[in-house]
């Protein structure tokens, strides 16, 4: 946070998407449809986001007295706050998605962390409006929660927020914001993409109890990327997936895209942000190919979410190339159940690819994880 702001106490920005989560019980794959609130009301369903936000705030208040600047709040959330909250005046026109965007924009320079309740759709809107790059933490309250900003529970989100605001030197990690691609979904194809990245409070555990340790997992990952680059072979074509880890890899070989699929020939990026068709065009028959991926989002997808350009067709064209996955040991430890998922769109190929994959977690370190379709 800026030096001159140290004079004011750190402030929490609070945002609740009242319709988040409504679609789930209705069998929807999200709550993004414009008429979702009306339909839910007709079906006699109330949103859970307000109540979940209230749980998070109760946990927050137990640990922090930081002032709160909030967007419009549902009554159950407001009740949990005992009235001690400053509310943004967004004017009467802002509603739904526009309300979220306006609230986040208004929070710039005024808060130190945004705590929001919602799902991937909300996360995406928050990220879009968050031009100030404020750290963000999500209270899980949606249908889809693939993005890395979501805490495991509302209480945990509240606690993390309190600890972050109290920390002398708050630390953040960069995570991906994912969402189901609505257009693809309407076309009958389940597909996700990475929309953006956000900074979220780093939540590595307190470590004043060190027995023998193998070192730091982030540094390990950094070193793993260096090791991978050192082993890249001139004649091989590398299909490089999206994500922050992959962006760090790409940065070592000429720089690539954060959200797109890029191509490298040996340790050099030669094409960026490629579509499925671009990839099919650029894979000459007989050329050795490797695919390099990381685990995307919080739900353990390696293939088929956020990197669907690397489709079954692409994999077939490349002669079913070896797939290398790079991911931090910490992220793997957080997988429940402890497995990774693939969804290339071709069940037969998925079945063939399923099994145990060695995932690179550090320099000279791999962890074996079961991959399921």
């Amino acid at each position: 946070m800026p030096e001159d702001d140290l004079k004011r106490p750190r402030r929490l920005g609070l945002l609740v998407n009242p319709v988040a989560g409504l679609g789930g019980p209705m069998g929807e794959k999200g709550s993004d449809a414009p008429d979702i609130a009306a339909r839910a009301e007709a079906a006699g369903r109330a949103g859970q986001a307000g109540a979940r936000a209230a749980r998070a705030l109760a946990a927050f208040r137990r640990a922090s007295e930081a002032p709160i600047l909030a967007g419009p709040l549902p009554p159950e959330t407001r009740a949990a706050l005992d009235g001690e909250v400053e509310t943004l005046d967004l004017g009467p026109t802002a509603q739904g998605r526009a309300e979220t965007l306006a609230a986040v924009a208004a929070m710039a320079e005024r808060v130190d962390l945004i705590l929001f309740a919602g799902g991937d759709g909300t996360a995406r809107d928050v990220a879009e409006a968050n031009r100030a790059g404020l750290p963000v933490i999500g209270i899980p309250a949606g249908v889809k929660m693939h993005s890395g900003v979501f805490a495991r529970s509302p209480e945990r989100a509240g606690r993390i927020a309190a600890e972050f605001l109290a920390a002398r030197t708050p630390r953040t990690d960069l995570v991906e914001i994912l969402d189901i691609d609505e257009e693809a979904r309407r076309a009958g194809q389940l597909s996700a993409r990475i929309y953006s990245v956000a900074r979220t409070p780093a939540t590595r555990g307190e470590r004043q109890n060190p027995k023998a340790g193998g070192g730091d997992m982030l540094a390990d990952l950094d070193a793993a990327l260096a090791g991978y680059v050192a082993g890249m072979v001139e004649e091989t074509l590398y299909i490089l997936g999206p994500g922050t880890t992959m962006a760090a890899l790409k940065a070592r070989i000429g720089g690539g895209t954060l959200l797109g699929v890029d191509l490298a020939e040996g340790p050099r990026i030669t094409a960026r942000d490629l579509s499925e068709d671009d990839l099919l065009e650029r894979i000459p028959p007989g050329r050795p190919v490797r695919v390099v991926l990381t685990v995307v989002g919080g739900q353990g997808f390696v293939l088929g979410r956020g990197n669907q350009q690397i489709s079954a067709r692409v994999l077939e064209r490349a002669g079913r190339p070896p797939i290398d996955v790079v991911c931090s040991a910490e992220k793997l430890a957080g997988l429940t159940p402890p497995e990774l998922t693939i969804d290339t769109g071709d069940p037969a190929l998925d079945a063939q690819l399923s099994g145990y994959w060695p995932i690179t977690t550090g320099p000279g370190r791999k962890q074996v994880v079961r991959v399921v379709a």
Binding site: Q208, N209, A226, P363
Partner: protein
Amino acid sequence: MTQAHPWMANSVPEVKQQMLSALGVNSIDALFAQIPEDHLYKGEMTLPKQLASEVALARHLDDMMARNSGTAENLSFLGAGAWPHYVPAICDEVVGRYEWQTSVFGSPTSDHGRNQAWFEFTSQIGALVDMDFVGLPVYSWGCAIGHAVRMASRMTGRRRVLVADVMDPERLSVLRNYCAPREMARHIEIVTVRTGADGRLDRADLKAKLDDSIAALYVETPSYHGVIEADPGGLCALARAAGAEAIVGVDPLSLGLLEAPGAYGATIAVGPTQPLGVHMYAGGGVGGFIASPDEERYAREYNTLNVSISETSGEDEFGFGLTLFHQSSYGMRDEGKDWTGNSVYLWALANATYMAAMGPEGFAEIGRLIMARAQAAARRIDALPGLSVDLSRPCFKEFVVTFDSAQVSAVNTALRARGIFGGKDITGEPGVPDEAMLLCVTETHSEDDIDRLVAALKEITA
């Protein structure tokens, strides 16, 4: 067992029964249900008879240990990696305290005293070597060299290290393991630099070998043979100019007299901790330290646990916690760091006590005394017919005695018959063309002791 065991509170049958009843099981065997039947060992353990009575156990230990005859019963001139230095009584008192003997990591608040004592170890080592960053100790001097060389290799991305061809074989053997065999992808090559007739590194040979493939120069002063390097700063400058780290190994007891590595441009200092208030314990007293400037590029390469001073929420109060445990992603690191684990942290408390009691004048005084005694011994031995010591070499604590015709092994046998342990037999080691021993003389040796040694040598070699 019929008696309850003094070290097992719950070996009382009634207590066992209380716990079994709480669990609702009949026998302890039922609790091992996870282990398949065919994994269980079916035989009887043929172990020596239980000695649960302390009096019987003490007698057994005394009987067995009576077959040793150590440096208290004999006059010893053995050094070479474990040195006979005086251990002040307060050091034994301090390390004997059950509180920190039984501590594991605990926390900075509950085990505050131990953490502070650790910080006082690192602080006082820092004062001795004139460097700002010191880690908690590692297993030994050799291990400190190994870690330092690996630090240097990671920092420079280079895979060769220069060491003197005359190096303690124990430490060299340890270093070899840390550098991995040739077959391994991450092998670090150990390249030796010639030691000149003056006992110092040959500058020409060093310059010829110091190219941009060298991760570090490792040099000791005093050397394995006890020789004081007249210009360690010059060696460090050569290393630094080649983009290599300048690692210097020092005897901390020499640092009241000899210049501190931090003052002449060493970038990493290592050395033994046993001389600082720890008994030899048949080699079990060894430990090693690593120090460097307090710059991130060094600090982030430490594999040791590192303790930092901290403020607390109390007024005018210090606490001591771990730093650099969360090594954040810094720079481009191609390899993981080495492991951290149990080391010799209890000895660090003896070291801290020793250094505090010694103070600056204690170090200066002991340095003068060791040099005076060692040089007196060297002169007297050199005067004996058939024995020689190169008196032109400035030596600290240890020096090489060469024999014209006598066999060192035979000399040592004869000395032992007289209740004297001669120096380490270094005949056949690199840089030792003749029959030779490495003799160690410290503050524990009186003038009478030297008289006795000289008389015995004279008699044996006559």
